[in-house]
Amino acid sequence: MQQDLSELGGFSGFGGLILNAAICAAITLSALAFAWTLHTQDPDPKSKNTPSLKALIAFWVVVAIAFLITFVRVTAAFFGYPDLDVLCYYLAAVPLGFLPVPLVFFIVYVATGDKRSAWTMSLLFTVFGTMYLLFLLPSEIVGPDVTYWATTITSESDFALTIYLSALFIVPTAMIIALLGSILARKPSKRSQYRVALTLVAISLVFDFILVDAVAIDCVMQVAARIFVLISVVLAFLAYHPPERLQERLRIQEITGCEVDD
């Protein structure tokens, strides 16, 4: 691979990797910023949404950690450090393996209001995540294959891939869609519909494009998936902080007024 780099005239031949790394950095920063705005939004610890809020913050922090490691990985590939690239691949697998845990807690708690069920489901997905890592870490890998746009590493463990696809991603995505459908079918207020729908759609998109990113064979597909992850983080931010114009257009603005004397 070092030879390939020298053939391309050093790292200047991998300009796409810089874009890839920049997208990863942007996802990290925006996910962290969003988690911070969520952290500062609700100071009431007795509020019923406190457990789901904490789970949502945890979800975005885990996304940020995963993409921070991925940023280091892509940067390492750019500067020609394949060992660091492989190390970061394994390190990033840890937050990605446990990403569904806070998400499942969030969905189950919002849907049922039962913390015990939410913890039980989270524990189940922690077991799935651990199983995924146990199959992934000792398995043989192919790569890193560094191209103009991306660095790809493929695990040869079919079990790890099966757990990753079926348990860790498809089940939580189905849960999100079910929750979204059940909420929208009962027609809450427009403002609630907007916030709930946009939050859940954004989470679902982030989740699905992380999956596409992980299983992408084509390097351009990896970059495209990361761009969509970034867009989804922005969507999630817009769910909580809709611009004035959008609020007026969708008629979801909060109208408050002072008391008037008749």
Partner: protein
């Protein structure tokens, strides 16, 4: 006669009262009387059957007055003997509406709770 959960019906009536609906679905006496009459469809409902459920929440006089001024006057029930009433088709329609209002309450509170838990 199928069991009628008085506490549940009280909860539903209180919900409708909180929406400013004090008659019909928001009136616990109306709810209980119409449900008791409907559960006795095809038979005669004795005033004592109704009082089995209403005694906990209202006095005998106000229930009798409600039967006379609402149910008999509007044709939801017919008096067939002393202290004996038969539900009419209109009464059954009213009972179905009251049952639906219970489902509406369940759906509304469920969605309100979900929205409340959303951060």
């Amino acid at each position: 006669m199928s069991r009628i959960d008085v506490l549940w019906e009280q909860e539903v009536a209180a919900y409708f009262q909180s929406l400013g609906i004090n008659q019909g679905p928001g009136d616990i006496q109306y709810r209980l009387i119409v449900l008791v009459l409907a559960s006795n469809e095809g038979g005669v409902t004795q005033f004592s059957d109704i009082r089995t459920y209403t005694d906990r929440i209202a006095d005998r006089g106000s229930v009798a007055s409600k039967l006379k001024t609402v149910f008999l006057l509007d044709g939801l029930a017919e008096r067939v003997q002393r202290g004996g009433y038969v539900v009419t088709d209109k009464g059954l329609a009213a009972a179905r509406f009251i049952q639906e209002s219970g489902k509406f309450y369940k759906r509304s509170t469920k969605i309100a709770a979900i929205i409340e838990r959303m951060p």
